[in-house]
Symmetry: C2
Subunit: 208 residues, 2 copies
């Protein structure tokens, strides 16, 4: 079984890259599906689940949290939040146990599924190219300005970095945590996807 995880800077095209790779390689694709699965199991609204997992409650969580996940030092952490994190781990584990080749975008799957030896990609791009990508895909009605998009990118990436550090103790986006970092600056994802697929094919052909 082959598992590919994709972590990414907001606006870098990591999600689209994931989808296109899944198409090219014939892999299953998971992204929003994970949130939906958690929400279904818990009888919660998916948007709420996503917000809780990405933006919430970190302020009150001591950095030793990851060492006491099943311990007694959990009083700082809102109950819902730990439940959701634990549910997320279970959903990811069940995807891995499925045994089917798959691509998982986000959710710190690279860390949570590390025992399955996934191929871990990180996708980045320079800030201007990320702003442009966000503006292109935004609805007209949102009336976004480049300045607001930039703020949004910073906020989301800061949350991702913090979530990553709390869950794994290691640094988001640091080259030591990924097998491959792809910079999409200047590329349309559809043109870059075949190159990344070329790498992946070679990677799995030669993995012992």
């Amino acid at each position: 079984m082959k598992i590919i995880t994709i972590s990414r800077e907001f606006g870098s095209g990591g999600r689209e890259l994931g989808k296109r790779l899944a198409d090219i390689l014939g892999f299953d694709y998971y992204d929003r599906e994970i949130i939906t699965a958690i929400a279904d199991k818990k009888g919660l609204n998916p948007d709420y689940v996503e917000r809780m997992l990405e933006n919430h409650a970190w302020q009150t969580v001591p950095l030793t949290y990851r060492h006491s996940f099943t311990g007694t030092a959990m009083i700082h952490v809102p109950h819902h939040h730990t439940e959701l994190l634990s549910e997320q781990t279970q959903v990811l584990e069940s995807i891995a146990k499925n045994g089917k080749d798959c691509i998982i975008v986000g959710r710190n799957a690279d860390f949570i599924l590390k025992n399955y030896a996934p191929l871990n990609l990180f996708v980045c791009a320079d800030i201007d190219s990320r702003i442009n990508r966000c503006l292109e895909r935004a609805e007209q009605s949102e009336q976004l300005t480049p300045k607001r998009v930039k703020q949004k990118i910073r906020t989301i990436d800061k949350n991702r970095a913090r979530t990553r550090e709390i869950i794994s103790g290691s640094k988001w986006g640091d080259r030591s945590n990924y097998n491959l970092i792809v910079n999409t600056t200047g590329w349309e994802i559809k043109n870059l996807a075949p190159a990344v697929a070329g790498f992946i094919t070679g990677w799995f052909e030669n993995t012992k």
Copy 2:
């Protein structure tokens, strides 16, 4: 014409990867040849040239150096050193002007040849795997210990980072400066090279 530059952490196997990619892709390969060319032109010893370019004289160079390369603020920089840097740029430019597909390892070629839009790779690996690679390739007579190798790795990478910053003003190893970062941890380079070659092929096929 296709130019690939390879920057790398010491001991990550970046040089071997470069050679193997050159073989697979049928590209020219430059590495030590650049030092030799500079040494020949200047009538200097190649080892001396390499040492000067990599380890020397940075202490006395103000960080604004890069802005005053042709200016008057050069009194801090040993004469030889600036000559060698300038010669290095010329040698790299002449390689690029050759018009033949090539791979260049080191020498900040990604920055110096940026107008030629090279594909810039950075090769890294975790510290243990780099120590092991260094020990494996060291001669028995060197009697290296892991501790000494680790010190050597730290020193060389520190010099590389500093040299990069002085020449380009941008950070060595930072994902924003490269198109692709490959982590070789756990891999024999000969098994990983086909995957990277797969990426490169896709990259150049789809470059506008």
